[in-house]
């Protein structure tokens, strides 16, 4: 088996008295899309910055491409592509100039960069905006330009920190499509996200992070099978009727979660469970039957929702 691209053992990051990452272990292999799923503040970005060789670990062992970021930071970064949580493009410069300057940081020859700019702007669907100042591009375009920029050195590993946060649904889907294409081309991706749909769509394998620790690891499917039931019935009751209903719902599902606005019944088959609810004479205001998602996994593991 080939060596993992990233290997972390007991990796920790502390800022003063705050422990951002607390002794995590993981491996990322060539060609896979690996995800860190967790709420804001779980330690995902701190982990990414350590992998990106810009933030020295406080404790533990970290190897990227088999190299130690503390000693070989520049060599590691020369093979990485980084899409930070917030775009840091130069807004006053044209789109293509952002890519050119960035490419030169990798010591690439100008003609090589120019040829790649053509290709990458086409990939990012920004060819007709190449001369435009970044300032006037939409949020989704800026994000795609940042991704195009991160590919200028043809990286072996691409780090994407919350790639679609703040984008509208259409822009998110276009971006997912572009990331999916990269995956098809065999680019290894590490993604942090607090969107369970993003993790489910993109990740081959992921770890769920909460409060600086990894609480579960597996493929989206494995995690759902391990930590949730196949289906979920969501019930919403009129104000004041919920508590009375709760007592009577006891025992009809494998597991019951009570959220501020909804009651979730975890079951392998939603249909009969719902019939039972109706059989009890309960009349919820609204009913949703659905498959289990990573959101349910997270709820099960931490007792909280991903997005608060």
């Amino acid at each position: 088996m080939t060596n993992p691209l990233v290997q972390a053992t007991g990796l920790s990051k502390r800022f003063g008295s705050l422990t951002a990452v607390d002794g995590i272990d993981f491996e990322v292999h060539r060609g896979e899309v690996f995800g860190f799923l967790g709420p804001n503040g779980a330690g995902k970005s701190s982990t990414m910055r350590m992998i990106g060789a810009v933030s020295p670990p406080t404790a533990g062992r970290l190897l990227v491409f088999g190299l130690d970021p503390a000693a070989d930071g520049a060599r590691i970064r020369s093979r990485l592509g980084v899409v930070p949580q917030e775009d840091n493009l130069d807004l006053q410069l044209p789109a293509e100039e952002n890519l050119l300057i960035y490419g030169r940081y990798f010591d690439l020859a100008v003609p090589v960069i120019r040829e790649r700019i053509d290709r990458l702007l086409a990939f990012a669907e920004l060819t007709d905006r190449r001369k435009d100042k970044v300032d006037i591009l939409s949020g989704g375009m800026k994000r795609r330009l940042t991704i195009a920029r991160s590919l200028i050195n043809e990286p072996d590993l691409l780090l994407l920190d919350e790639p679609t946060t703040g984008l509208d649904p259409q822009a998110r889907h276009l971006l997912w499509d572009r990331l999916y294409r990269l995956k098809q081309q065999g680019v290894t991706l590490i993604i942090t996200t607090h969107y369970m749909d993003e993790a489910e769509q993109l990740c081959d394998r992921l770890v769920v992070m909460d409060k600086a620790k990894i609480v579960a690891e597996g493929s989206p499917k494995e995690l759902i099978e391990r930590y949730s039931t196949r289906e979920v019935v969501e019930l919403r009751f009129p104000i004041g009727e919920r508590d009375a209903a709760l007592g009577r719902l006891d025992g009809i599902a494998t597991r019951t979660e009570v959220l501020p606005d909804r009651v979730l019944l975890y079951t392998d088959d939603a249909e009969p469970t719902l019939s039972e609810v109706h059989g009890l004479g309960l009349r919820p205001e609204s009913v949703v039957e659905r498959r289990s998602t990573l959101e349910d996994v997270f709820l099960r593991l931490t007792g909280r929702s991903l997005i608060d």
Partner: protein, 259 residues
């Protein structure tokens, strides 16, 4: 590796400047020329008729003023380029964060940005030298000789100002730097009149400022006069400011960016 990435970073700064140079033309070139015309020729005509000639070593006021103004201008440009753009790189544009995701590191950023400032100062000083020849009757040889000390003066401010800026949270500290640092220096470090004209207690203060040493060197080079203390001391003093400033700038930026 580090040397190569410094050059790459410097190149990026130049590419950015090429797109934005228009914004800096007024402060870089026009203001000093207006100052030289107004103070040198305007006020100078009064000075030359009064007691000025006695303390100005026999030069017309505009001739005396021009090299001092060169040093004061490079101080302003060195300080300006080491303050707002560095704050932008750290905080507003976050271009330093972007660059540091590549082989570029803190050392390359500091060296590259200082290299960029040195080129800007060099270019400004050469243009200004020509203006001195035309407006202030400085010889061509003298004017060109003043370029190097002018650049050194600017660098003696640029390096410590990067160090200072890297430790600031917001722009307030930069406004204070100009208001309470640069403007008084501009006025009282021997640019417009010899520091020996200051009240006795202020004189040593003027001698401690890097600008005074820069003005001494620039004026000596341009006019062929002597310096108050040996020129090598002036040079060494400015070099120390550059060196210590560079070390502190690296440390400050590392503390800021590598967390």
């Amino acid at each position: 590796m580090a040397a190569a990435t410094s050059v790459r970073f410097l190149e990026g700064e130049l590419r950015t400047y090429r797109r934005q140079w228009r914004a800096s033309v007024i402060t870089t070139f026009v203001n000093p020329i207006l100052f030289l015309a107004a103070m040198g020729l305007g006020v100078g005509s009064l000075v030359d008729r009064g007691t000025g000639a006695g303390v100005l070593e026999g030069f017309a006021y505009v001739t005396y003023l021009a090299p001092g103004l060169l040093a004061a201008t490079t101080m302003q440009i060195g300080t300006g380029d080491a303050s707002w753009p560095v704050m932008a790189g750290i905080k507003w544009v976050r271009s330093y964060e972007a660059a540091m995701a590549t082989p570029v590191d803190v050392r390359s950023i500091v060296t590259g940005h200082l290299g960029y400032i040195a080129l800007r100062l060099l270019f400004t000083a050469v243009v200004y030298a020509l203006v001195m020849v035309v407006l202030a009757s400085v010889t061509v040889g003298g004017a060109l000789a003043a370029v190097a000390p002018g650049v050194l003066t600017g660098m003696a401010f640029a390096a410590p100002v990067i160090a200072y800026t890297s430790r600031l949270d917001g722009p307030e500290g930069l406004s204070s730097l100009f208001r309470f640092g640069i403007v008084p220096l501009y006025l009282f470090s021997g640019t417009f009149f010899p520091a020996s004209q200051l009240p006795g207690w202020l004189e040593p203060v003027a001698y401690a400022t890097p600008l005074w040493h820069g003005v001494e060197l620039t004026r000596a080079a341009a006019l062929g006069t002597g310096t108050t203390i040996p020129a090598v001391v002036n040079i060494a003093y400015l070099v120390v400011w550059v060196g210590v400033g560079t070390v502190l700038a690296r440390r400050g930026l590392a503390r800021r960016m590598v967390t």
